[in-house]
Symmetry: C2
DNA sequence: AAATATTTTTAGATAACTCTAAAATATTTT
DNA sequence: AAAATATTTTAGAGTTATCTAAAAATATTT
């Protein structure tokens, strides 16, 4: 059985490796987790011994199939709890992350099975991220970052990349939410900023930094 | 802020001290927590330094007002989660304890406030134990252990003392549940065993060990 | 009240996770 | 390709929570 710390490292490695495709550097992990590189070296050696990653010194880590399954279990729990907090306990989408970071480590197969049922088998969390099933499989919808989109394109907001409360509160303020209709009405090539029309009502002007973190489908 | 381990010790001390009235011995704590007396000595020294208990060597510990408040917060969370598991996730009353032992350590004021609201401010948990409010206050109903009761007395089952699954599954099997009506129809003075009538339907014969763990009101 | 038994504490170790500082390796620049 | 820079690992240490074994204090029995 993995410790909380091990679960957190595995989750970080999974995310940083683009869902398992590429190797991850020690520094990338230490940045992401707010620990020191020395601590990371220790931990990935241990995860290697447990068969969760393959580790070559000075090279980087690759997550193993086994590790990927473990990471996806934790991600499943995290996202189900987020749905619970928003749908049932009326949390706002910017308030759920920290609490879900704790709840994701609760160990009980029955609990997560019943929670899934209670929530009516949701497919995405409050930020539009897909929820893996018991086997780690999840629906991968085609999502385009808004900054890659031409003037005139219309779509629906289906996810966000940044789950920090300052970003999400900003989206609340300008009227952006999951499911909102959207059209790109202007684009400044120089800096990538753009004007968008939300729900055929408000027009707002957003920076590239913001548009990069908004995902749409057409 | 207290660690999980510290919270667990505090909870044990609170329970063993008859809700804070009397001092508790090192061995009693180590028994209750399945740790060694040496570990307990270490921990209570630390809890004393933090002002959670007062500790005299070779004498025992008394929980402080501060410690009592902390213990009651944890107990409040534990019992609210138990209600959630039974009322919302359809857990049986014998399945909740272990999971609630984990959930009780989740740190979020908002979470527990919203959970309380979501559950419609329950006053007791699935075993009939009262749920403290935010200040640690709780309704103390008069509850009589069934073994202290004369033949002919009628009452309602309001709580159980043992939350272990083997006891609770036995109660399920003989048709005893919280809220059931009950009458003592026979009593064997020699061993304290008794026959009871449940809901004016089934008669069952129970040992003193069982009757001690069933609490009624008249 | 002395001997014995029990309880409790102290001392020293271990495991998990983290850190700092220094050494080793890899990468980039000149 | 040598020097400078950046990254990563190792070595050694601290913290928390646990343990075992031995010592100290308290309680019980004779």
């Amino acid at each position: 059985m993995l410790s909380f710390a091990e679960e957190n490292y595995l989750k970080a490695i999974f995310h940083l490796s683009d869902s398992g495709a590429t190797e991850v550097s020690t520094n990338a992990i230490s940045d992401h987790m707010n620990t020191k590189p020395a601590s990371v070296s220790d931990m990935i050696r241990k995860l290697d011994e447990k068969g969760m990653v393959t580790y070559k010194k000075y090279y980087g880590v690759n997550i193993s199939r086994k590790g990927k399954v473990m990471a996806l279990q934790v991600i499943r729990k995290h996202r189900l709890w987020e749905v619970f907090l928003v749908d049932k306990l009326k949390f706002n989408w910017d308030e759920v992350h920290e609490v879900a970071e704790q709840l994701e480590h609760i160990r009980s197969g029955l609990l997560i099975q019943r929670l899934d049922e209670f929530l009516d088998y949701p497919k995405v969390d409050p930020h539009g991220d897909p929820i893996p099933d018991e086997n780690g499989d999840m629906a991968v919808a085609k999502k385009t970052p808004l900054d890659k989109v031409e003037v005139g394109v219309k779509g629906k907001i289906v996810a966000v990349n940044d789950e920090g409360s300052s970003f999400l509160q900003y989206l609340d303020k300008i009227g952006i939410y999951l499911g909102a209709k959207l059209e790109v009405t202007e684009r400044v090539d120089f800096d990538g900023s753009m004007e968008i029309l939300i729900d055929n009502k408000q027009k707002v002007f957003i920076s590239r930094e913001v548009s990069q973190n908004i995902l749409i489908t057409d």
